[in-house]
Subunit: 162 residues, 2 copies
Amino acid sequence: MSRLDSAIRRLQAQQLCLEWAASAVANRSGNAIELGLGNGRTFDHLRSLMPERPFYVFDRQIAAHPDCIPADDRIFLGDFRETLVAAKQALGQTVLLAHLDIGTGDKAASIALAAEIAPLVDGLLADDAVVVSDQPVILPRWTSAPLPEGIRPGRIHLYQIG
Amino acid sequence: MSRLDSAIRRLQAQQLCLEWAASAVANRSGNAIELGLGNGRTFDHLRSLMPERPFYVFDRQIAAHPDCIPADDRIFLGDFRETLVAAKQALGQTVLLAHLDIGTGDKAASIALAAEIAPLVDGLLADDAVVVSDQPVILPRWTSAPLPEGIRPGRIHLYQIG
């Protein structure tokens, strides 16, 4: 498989999993978060799926397309380990949907970062929340959910909480 | 359409058009070129489609994944306007397949760059060559070819030469 093939499958997997997650919580009110705004593609997709839901993003710096940058009061800017603590104060345990898109090219570092920050994300998650994550996470409340058909296991991860 | 949807369609359009181009010249020997190596995804896809064909890339700087960087003697590094002149000396009119992937976020600048360098690319192209281009080009020898089904007109451009 070429890197072009692989990129297409990765984006399609994100698309399918974000649609699964938005659908899973569609009938309940609560906040959404994304860790790793990046170029803003998945933020743009998620907000199109849930235009009414309050949606907060976390990143170290803003590098997204200008039309994919949320309002200032919806951005937690800085190190995840600090901003997730601040978010707990601001939001409590009100998050129904979380998208973790934190990986870099360095696989070991990405997994280690996920292990470090996932407990802080967990503190924000309401019962029956759902998580889409580019990294695998093992936590007591996080139960793996099956991937939509056609996605290679391990490419992306879905969790149901509580 | 979200930016995630749009990115998927753009990469799928590249995939389909590169496959069309590689197939169109499959039975003839000649060189291939790509202008704009970028992250190396389409280079990786094209070389998988035509592993035997000599394949030269042009870019201002190398920023590709380490496993998507061609050998030094297959890279023309620098301003296209200079390296295309050097390539004419080195390769003559031997190119059967060209992929132009030169666009930046600035649409007007991208079209202007294409207009400036396309005549230099034209000088490298053998009769019956094919071109896949992210920018529209108007030149006497370049005849638009129909896009594969499902691709929005204007998203990408195919040309047959001569």
